[in-house]
Amino acid sequence: MTAAFERHDPASWRRGLAYRARSVLPYDGSAYPAGLPLVLDTTVYIDLRKVSRVPAAVAARISRDRVLHSAVALSELATALGLLDPAHPNTPTIRTAIEATLREVEPESVVAPSPDAWIEAAVVSGILARTQGFAGMDRRRLLNDAMMVISAAEAGAVLVSRNRRDMDLLLRFRPDARIWLYDDASAVRV
């Protein structure tokens, strides 16, 4: 565990981090060699089930390349099954979609954070909770995002996400992580 909790020195992170310009963030997926597996952030599973939310280039790569599944993302999807209001008219549709997604996942394609990833993600999310003033559920969200980033890196995969703000922060700690950001294509088009 030594390397995992010593990888980042909390004392060297004293001020809040400013969010960076889009132009310096990894929005160009063509920078990553073909054939690398992809890991999908939780929102990607949702966005692809809506209409035109994911840019065509991203969807094409997801169609073509091997997809690994973060156990963290799958657990976030599964929380919806418990959270959905049974009395809401949309619940059956949403439940069916999420259950079908989880059912389609091949067990051997799931990647879970290693013990080292848990420890490193906890240190990073703790630092960011302090420097960025995150509290409550924001801290938990960031811990999950950090675990996704680190476990995707462990798997040698590219993490696909539209969570620009959290990924911007986490890339300061793991600039080696392969992250492919995209914008909501429906919002861009308007």
Binding site: L48, R66, V67, L83, T101, S109, M137
Partner: protein
């Protein structure tokens, strides 16, 4: 050069392990061949989970193939009878993990205003 005509039976009593059982838990000491056989095992496991295998060699095929293609597949597999090579090839094609393509095909199956709310 004519293409070989082969007649094959597509499975044994338990098609999931036909000729490949020894590679379960493979250590890949034999390089590409072990990896190929492990990939075939994985594909057959997927097909079993999907419930698409009959569990017996009931389908008889008679096909013409390019001999180079047959030998390339046999080399990749390390060895094997025609039935084993064709079974492996069919398993790899039919048992692919095509989750990404499947998910992309699911567009317009969630309400546009649905968002995960757990962390809100």
């Amino acid at each position: 050069m004519g293409r070989p005509r082969i007649s094959i039976v597509t499975s044994k009593a338990d098609p999931s392990t036909a000729g490949f059982a020894e590679s379960a838990g493979a250590t890949f000491e034999n390089g590409h061949a072990d990896i190929a056989r492990a990939q075939v095992d994985l594909a057959i496991d997927r097909l079993k989970r999907r419930g698409v295998l009959a569990g017996k060699r009931s389908a008889r095929l008679s096909v013409r193939v390019d001999p180079g293609l047959m030998e390339a597949a046999r080399t990749r597999l390390g060895a094997g009878s025609d039935s084993e090579v064709v079974t492996a090839a069919l398993a790899l094609l039919g048992g692919q993990d095509d989750f990404g393509a499947w998910l992309v095909s699911q567009a317009d199956t969630l309400p546009e205003d649905f968002e995960l709310e757990f962390f809100k």
